[in-house]
């Protein structure tokens, strides 16, 4: 007969050990799985507010000093802005996560892995193999479908893979909410590399419009990856059906594609007698709403799942 061991730390446990979703847990890890970790959600809220404050600060500074940057300096400043945008979440997260700290090295590693996958696979696949810029703008419906099937699935799968095939099987991934944490880290890594690529390709960035574009990308990529992370977190610790993980990736890809299309539509007003052009502010509003809604819904869902599990414990011993 098999010996019972905890599915997280792989240590032996008693025969009557707690179970959840067909998995056996030691006391410590059972308690961890259903933790709420309010610090994580405060970090998420801090990220959204911090990104908006970052945009505001750059807008004010540029408005006051009107810097005339060019060439390599402009590229360096743009890359700096992209990195600061990513560091905002990491800073909030590490500050809020002091009591039950997630291993800093793992969070940073997933962030870097997300960035590397973007650079090595995502960007070349979308730009050179699928050449999305050549055909997505041709028709509204084709553009939306293409954004979901190609941009959405490529980006969301890579961010999912950065978590699923690195930290997911490790004992450090020991709470439902860890999926959201590592997913967000992977999404921010991906977003940072996207931003750096855009800045280098454009030979710099128009500071006022550029910082908004950077923040919009960071908020959106982090939100969608956080959503996939939520599905990962529940898949690891609960009895979810086979379609659960594919469903999570598909939902994130769908939202990503819709967001990409809407962002394009909102930031590029139609030409009229006053001219057309690029207005990044509606994109920022959309990204803020998407990020706030996504993290709000995830917060609610994880708290609800934890409550249901706890009520099961109170009622009858915390099995399945």
């Amino acid at each position: 007969m098999d010996k019972n061991i905890c599915c997280v730390c792989h240590q032996p446990v008693d025969a009557d050990a707690k179970q959840l979703g067909g998995r056996t847990y030691c006391e410590r890890h059972y308690a961890k799985v259903i933790q709420d970790r309010p610090g994580v959600w405060r970090a998420g809220l801090g990220m959204i507010v911090g990104q908006l404050a970052f945009v505001l600060l750059v807008e004010i500074l540029v408005g006051l000093f009107k810097p005339t940057l060019a060439g390599g300096v402009l590229v360096a400043v743009g890359v700096g802005l992209a990195l600061i945008s990513a560091l905002i979440w990491l800073a909030f997260f590490y500050r809020q996560d002091r009591l039950e700290p997630e291993p800093k090295g793992y969070v940073l590693s997933v962030f870097i892995l997300g960035a590397l996958l973007a650079q090595a696979v995502g960007i070349p696949l979308l730009d050179r193999v699928f050449e999305v810029q050549r055909w997505l703008p041709r028709s509204p419906l084709g553009g939306l479908l293409g954004a979901i099937l190609v941009i959405g699935f490529v980006q969301e799968f890579l961010k999912y893979a950065a978590v699923r095939y690195s930290v997911f099987p490790l004992p450090e991934f020991d709470e439902r909410v860890d999926g959201v944490i590592y997913g967000t880290a992977s999404g921010l890594g991906y977003a940072t590399m996207l931003n750096i690529n855009d800045i280098i390709a454009d030979g710099g960035v128009h500071l006022q419009a550029g910082v908004i574009r950077i923040v919009v990308t960071a908020l959106a990529q982090a939100s969608f990856a956080g959503l996939t992370g939520y599905f990962l977190g529940r898949a690891k610790f609960e009895d979810e059906p086979v379609w659960w993980l594919p469903g999570g990736v598909a939902l994130a890809a769908l939202l990503n594609g819709v967001f990409t299309t809407l962002r394009g539509e909102l930031t590029t007003p139609a030409l009229d007698l006053a001219g057309g052009g690029f207005n990044p502010w509606p994109g920022l509003l959309l990204a803020t709403v998407v990020a706030a809604a996504t993290f709000g819904v995830l917060f609610y869902l994880i708290r609800r799942a934890n409550k249901i599990t706890l009520s099961g414990v109170d009622a009858g011993g915390g099995v399945e």
């Binding site: 098999d2 010996k3 019972n4 061991i5 905890c6 599915c7 792989h10 979703g21 067909g22 998995r23 056996t24 699928f130 050449e131 050549r134 055909w135 703008p137 041709r138 028709s139 084709g142 479908l145 293409g146 979901i148 099937l149 190609v150 959405g152 699935f153 490529v154 799968f157 999912y160 699923r164 898949a235 009895d239 979810e240 059906p241 086979v242 379609w243 659960w244 993980l245 594919p246 990736v249 598909a250 890809a253």
Partner: protein
């Protein structure tokens, strides 16, 4: 046990299901890309007795010379162009003469025109003459701030009874190779 066999098996299936879903989505994306980029529509030039297929979404202009000019509005700073001409030519005359005339016309209207090569090629089993060339497109408009662009082109002269049909492909030097497929598809679709 760490995880029940049923759960463990389901986890593995879920992993593979994610990969399968992404592969299916990308295959559908490839199909969508292909049908968007290379979808064609029938085109007939009744007076000249020429029919063929032109790419959907391209901007088309018809006239007497060229009979058809189709431009891809989404192919970079220089829009890739396909043109179709029909010029009278005696049955015994060399089709290269039609290309020479076209060369003279272009050399007078564009900057730095240069013929690169002239060779015989086979198009749908028939021998044709192909000429490759290049020129620099300079926008002389005083209020337009646009860098000159290197354009590469191909003319193919197809002999027909008492005339020669010239198919022209023009593309920016950066998109020439990627868009060459349009030219091949177009020329192979022609019926006259």
């Amino acid at each position: 046990m760490t995880v029940s066999p049923k759960t463990s098996r389901r986890d593995r299936w879920a992993d593979w299901a994610v990969i399968a879903l992404v592969v299916v989505a990308l295959l559908m994306g490839l199909w969508l890309r292909r049908s968007t980029l290379y979808r064609t529509e029938d085109f007939t030039w009744g007076d000249a007795g020429i029919a063929g297929r032109v790419f959907a979404g391209w901007v088309r202009q018809t006239g007497t010379d060229p009979l058809l000019s189709a431009r891809n509005p989404l192919s970079g700073s220089f829009n890739t162009v396909l043109e179709l001409r029909s010029r009278a030519l005696a049955a015994e005359a060399d089709p290269t003469l039609a290309l020479d005339a076209l060369t003279l016309e272009r050399a007078a209207t564009v900057d730095a025109y240069k013929t690169l090569s002239t060779a015989e090629v086979v198009v749908r089993g028939e021998t044709a003459v192909q000429r490759t060339f290049t020129y620099v497109l300079v926008d002389h408009h005083p209020y337009v701030d646009r860098l000159p662009e290197v354009v590469r082109g191909v003319d193919v002269a197809l002999r027909d009874e008492g005339r020669v049909i010239v198919v022209t492909y023009l593309a920016g030097s950066e998109t020439f190779d990627a868009d060459y497929r349009y030219f091949r598809t177009f020329i192979e679709s022609l019926r006259y």
